[in-house]
């Protein structure tokens, strides 16, 4: 049976309207509601289902970030992960943390924990990078099943349905493997109160990138973060005829 390592990230909640800092160094994160990256919820859900189907024996949730990342790990534990690993990174070191660093950390942990499957969300909704799974696979020289909408388990292999530009694609990959969850993979469960209570007793191991021998010095410098250009407000038209006239005037319709 497989051991599954799942990467979870604490991000600003998807429903929050973010604000750019006046000094243009980033976005305001203090006092803003955070939650688990939605794609990572899907990843945890899939890992827990693997366990329920007896494909996996253990699900380990990992998060890299400041002390508050432990809440994200607790959420994963309440959803059904068995134990957590918190790789503590805070302050300026966290500000400049990139998928390259996270992928090295997760790759190292995958080896240490003897994981057969590493599962992460396809992208984090804050940096919108969509890199970590691919990079973990690159570091480990494992095959990757990216943007998964279906994962079927075979003997030493996985059959993956991937969401690609024109439709869907099916590939078969050998384990150990790295997978990234797309939106359509599953519908994550809610953590129930009894499970939240139980999760408090589960173990979270604390470590640092140094313990794992991973250098987190920044490879990309953020020069500035600014608001996107604001669109000029438009007008509400009374009827279809006016709309068609406007579109004709603008040359959109002949």
């Amino acid at each position: 049976m497989a051991r599954v390592l799942v990467g979870v990230k604490r991000v600003i909640d998807y429903a929050v309207k973010i604000r750019v800092k006046p000094d243009k160094t980033g976005v305001v994160t203090e006092g803003v509601k955070h939650s688990m990256n939605p794609f990572d919820e899907i990843a945890i859900e899939e890992a827990v289902r693997m366990k329920e189907k007896k494909f996996a024996q253990e699900v380990i949730a990992v998060s890299c970030g400041p002390a508050q990342s432990q809440e994200t790990i607790r959420t994963a534990l309440a959803m059904g992960a068995d134990r957590g690993i918190h790789v503590e990174i805070s302050g300026p070191e966290y500000e400049s943390l990139q998928p390259i660093h996270v992928s090295k950390i997760l790759a190292k942990l995958a080896q240490e924990e003897k994981a057969d499957i590493v599962l992460v969300g396809k992208q984090a909704i804050d940096d919108d990078c969509n890199q970590t799974a691919q990079m973990i696979a690159g570091v480990l020289d494992w095959p990757a099943g990216t943007f998964c909408s279906k994962i079927e388990h075979g003997q030493g292999d996985l059959t993956i349905t991937r969401e690609i530009d024109g439709g869907l694609e099916t590939i078969k990959i050998k384990t150990p493997a790295v997978l990234s969850a797309d939106l359509r993979l599953n519908e994550p469960r809610y953590a129930t109160l009894p499970n939240i209570m139980k999760a408090k007793k589960k173990q979270i191991k604390k470590m640092t990138p140094k313990d794992l021998g991973v250098d987190t010095s920044p490879r990309i410098e953020v020069v500035s973060v600014e608001d996107p250009p604001v669109r000029q407000s438009g007008s509400i038209l009374p009827d279809v005829d006016t709309l068609i006239t406007k579109l004709k005037e603008a040359g959109h319709v002949k």
């Binding site: 890199q131 438009g234 709309l243």
Partner: protein
């Protein structure tokens, strides 16, 4: 002693700037063994902005038509072709070692592809093998090491300076005007030989949605439907409208999740990013995640019966009306 140090530093800085003037970029072409994907032409435009030599790599089981087209793209110096069964399904596991071998031979300063499903799956794996930090979905090139990209679903714009010696970037197709595939005269070369087949992954099949309409990501006009359409059958009125406008049809996540249309029609942060001349949003409220995929459209039209729908805040023209009345009326009058 200090002066010697500073002199050495200065020479180094000069040396670095000289290197900068000799950029050489590898563009990884995307194609389907029959035709070149249009996003490759956008990626070439980005490569042109960086300056310096441009080499294009075409890998696949059948590369002749894509590589032929690319030799005619202005600015391309060389088209490197790797044809073989190893590249069936264009798996990153087989293309990565090919790119590494090509890079070893020619030592590129930049490796670029379009930020499509293909480019997104491939580039970070290459970056990991080269131990460099890649940049995704770049929308502007300020200099050979400074790039602009969006974060937080397009709600903030980040300017970044990449410090690694090889810059690996995927580019947002809609942000770069495609280069033509006429007038150029690049030479074709064969890629470095090697065993690129990866036994860890096997391509099984693709199921592509068939459509006679223009491709969503590059269409001039896009008509999109959301939850307001209420069913898959009702999308028919949008298809009719799209046909009248020669438009592609898109959808919000709500419409995809409800099963009205397939996933590959989704426009938004996690679906496709489009920037057509005209975007008509029908029965779409305009959640942050949807706006991320379409707010760079030239003209936005919103049709929604809820006057408070956020989509009206970005729309140039809005109709507060029942879509089931208004869209058929448009179909009739167009």
């Amino acid at each position: 002693m200090f002066s010697t140090c500073s002199r050495v530093l200065k020479t180094n800085a000069n040396f670095a700037s000289i290197l900068h003037r000799f950029e050489s970029t590898l563009v990884i072409a995307e194609h389907n063994n029959e035709i070149l994907s249009p996003i490759t032409q956008n990626a070439l435009a980005a490569a042109t902005k960086i300056g310096g030599d441009i080499t294009v790599l075409v890998a696949g089981t059948k590369c002749s038509s894509a590589s032929e087209a690319l030799t005619k793209a202005p600015g391309v110096a060389k088209v490197i072709v790797a044809e073989g069964d190893a590249f069936k399904g264009f798996t990153p596991e087989s293309i990565t070692p090919l790119v590494l071998a090509t890079h070893k031979q020619l030592n590129f300063s930049h490796i670029i592809a379009g930020a499509s499903a293909f480019g997104k799956a491939l580039l970070p794996r290459i970056a990991a093998k080269l131990d460099v930090s890649p940049a995704s979905d770049v929308i502007e090139i300020k200099s050979p090491d400074t790039f602009v990209r969006t974060i937080y679903a397009g709600n903030a714009v980040q300017t970044i300076k990449m410090k690694d010696n090889v810059k690996i970037i995927s580019v947002r197709g809609t942000a770069f005007k495609p280069v033509s595939t006429e007038g150029g005269s690049a030479k074709i070369e064969t890629a470095p030989a090697g065993d690129y087949k990866c036994n860890l992954v096997e391509f099984i099949k693709q199921e592509l949605s068939k459509s006679d309409r223009p491709e969503l990501a590059s269409a001039k006009v896009v008509v999109s439907g959301g939850r307001g359409l209420k069913s898959g059958e009702n999308f028919q009125i949008l298809y009719t409208l799209a046909d009248k406008l020669n438009a592609a049809v898109g959808a919000s996540r709500a419409a995809v999740d409800a099963g009205y249309v397939p996933n590959d029609m989704q426009v938004g942060q996690t679906g496709k990013i489009v920037a057509p001349d005209l975007y008509i949003a029908v029965g779409i409220s305009g959640a942050i995640q949807h706006l991320a995929g379409m707010k760079d459209s030239k003209t936005i039209v919103a049709i929604n019966k809820d006057p408070d729908a956020p989509i009206f805040q970005v729309a140039d023209y809005g109709l507060v009306a029942d879509l089931f009345k208004v869209v058929p009326e448009m179909n009739e009058k167009l």
